[in-house]
Symmetry: C2
Subunit: 228 residues, 2 copies
DNA sequence: GTTTGCTTGATTATCGATATTCCTTGCGAT
DNA sequence: ATCGCAAGGAATATCGATAATCAAGCAAAC
């Protein structure tokens, strides 16, 4: 059967708002007028407030009582803290995964790495970006999943959602550069190699370096866009 | 001036609901009828839905579209995963804190440890529980704060909020037992000692052991209460 | 010239009413 | 007896209207 989940408007509003905030359709710090949001999404204030409440929990939006909602601001300081936290957490999770991962974990890493390595047959540039990013995320998630700790994975996802606004700045620079893509390709191959050899210390260091490479590019883009 | 923050009803509803869920006023898995919540807190459905949305983000409540909200269930499986995640994360944060902590970090640890060690002059049993718990949390938070990574601290807090329902089961058993309290006291003293010596590996092991001690007690209480 | 207070328009916060969806129960057919 | 289905009751989801609050502009006073 066609099990159309029939989700309620608050959930839809949440998805759309999150998407638009991450993609930069709303500027950091921008006030989110209920009247504007009503027009844009054709929704009542009820569902909107529910969606915004959830985004406040995720720290993509800040609420000021009696004064509505604003998009969370971005700063170099937060960028550094986010990537610091993310790098440390991903390193921890990777060590656990190497300690705990089983055969199907290894198989999934190889499968997702393979899929990621051959993103070729795409049409438009936007599609390229979406496809590469989705497979890139799937690859890293497959690695992390070996830690066998759902709540650590949840914490990882929370951090990732927060960093995604910054990361998206980097993505546009990388995906459209053959050179940058090739560099990522070889980094991923080296990572897989070390992980399958279960060399935890080396894998952790490589992962940290790998995760940190976007930071200088993001800083450059932020300064260019006057965000810093 | 008396800066009464004048927070809106949704925020109040969030605090009350969270408090009541953690303290077990609503059973795990219990359906949260809007009509009942309306009566209990004397609020409209709007603020309630906003509060519940946030609790869904924190995974203390689950929402099923078109079918309302339920308190998140509890299980031995989740208990083990939560404590695993928490222990690993707290260990990571402690290592970072030992590497990065400065003089004022050390001072705060000593200060909060001292305050925790002498919880004596309390009146009622309930007050004892609240005071001891607050100081206990302050002590551990002071240790963690040395990592100097706000977003890791946020991830830590998220995990803590989720574990608090389980932890509360343990708290009632521990705080009212002079023997258990003494054991915690000496563990804390030993922890402070090792931390100030900046012995990261040993400190991490001790911290993990310390955090894990409640687990068997919680399992016992859960089985007694038919939660498992 | 700066500050204070008032007025007015704009915005948020909340509730009650309505529409939609879900769940149970009971009846009839197989 | 069991299954399917329809009807009624219960609960959720949403909107529009109203009340409460805030922000800007102007005027008068110091």
């Amino acid at each position: 059967m066609d099990t159309a989940p029939k989700q309620n408007l608050a959930i839809s509003a949440y998805s759309w708002l999150k998407h638009d905030i991450i993609r930069g359709a709303f500027a950091p710090g921008e006030k989110l007028l209920m009247s504007k949001l009503r027009d844009r999404y054709e929704l009542g204030v009820g569902p909107l407030r529910e969606a915004l409440s959830q985004l406040v929990s995720e720290q993509l939006v800040v609420a000021i009582s009696q004064r509505g909602y604003r998009v969370a601001s971005m700063s170099l300081e937060e960028l550094h803290d986010l990537y610091d936290a993310r790098t440390q957490l991903e390193g921890l999770i990777l060590e656990l995964a190497i300690e705990r991962g089983d055969d199907s974990w290894e198989a999934n890493i190889l499968a997702t790495a393979h899929t990621l390595a051959k993103v070729m047959e795409v049409n438009t540039a936007e599609e390229m970006l979406d496809v590469w990013d989705a497979r890139h995320i799937a690859f890293h998630t497959a690695i992390a999943a070996g830690c066998n700790a759902p709540h650590l994975m949840q914490a990882r996802k929370n951090l990732f959602d927060q960093v995604e606004r910054y990361r998206h700045l980097w993505l546009r620079e990388t995906v459209f550069s053959e050179k940058a893509l090739n560099r990522k390709r070889s980094e991923h191959a080296a990572l897989v190699d070390v992980i399958l050899k279960r060399d935890a210390a080396k894998a952790r260091d490589m992962m940290r370096t790998h995760l940190m490479t976007p930071v200088p590019i993001i800083i450059e883009v932020m300064e260019r866009h006057g965000l810093a």
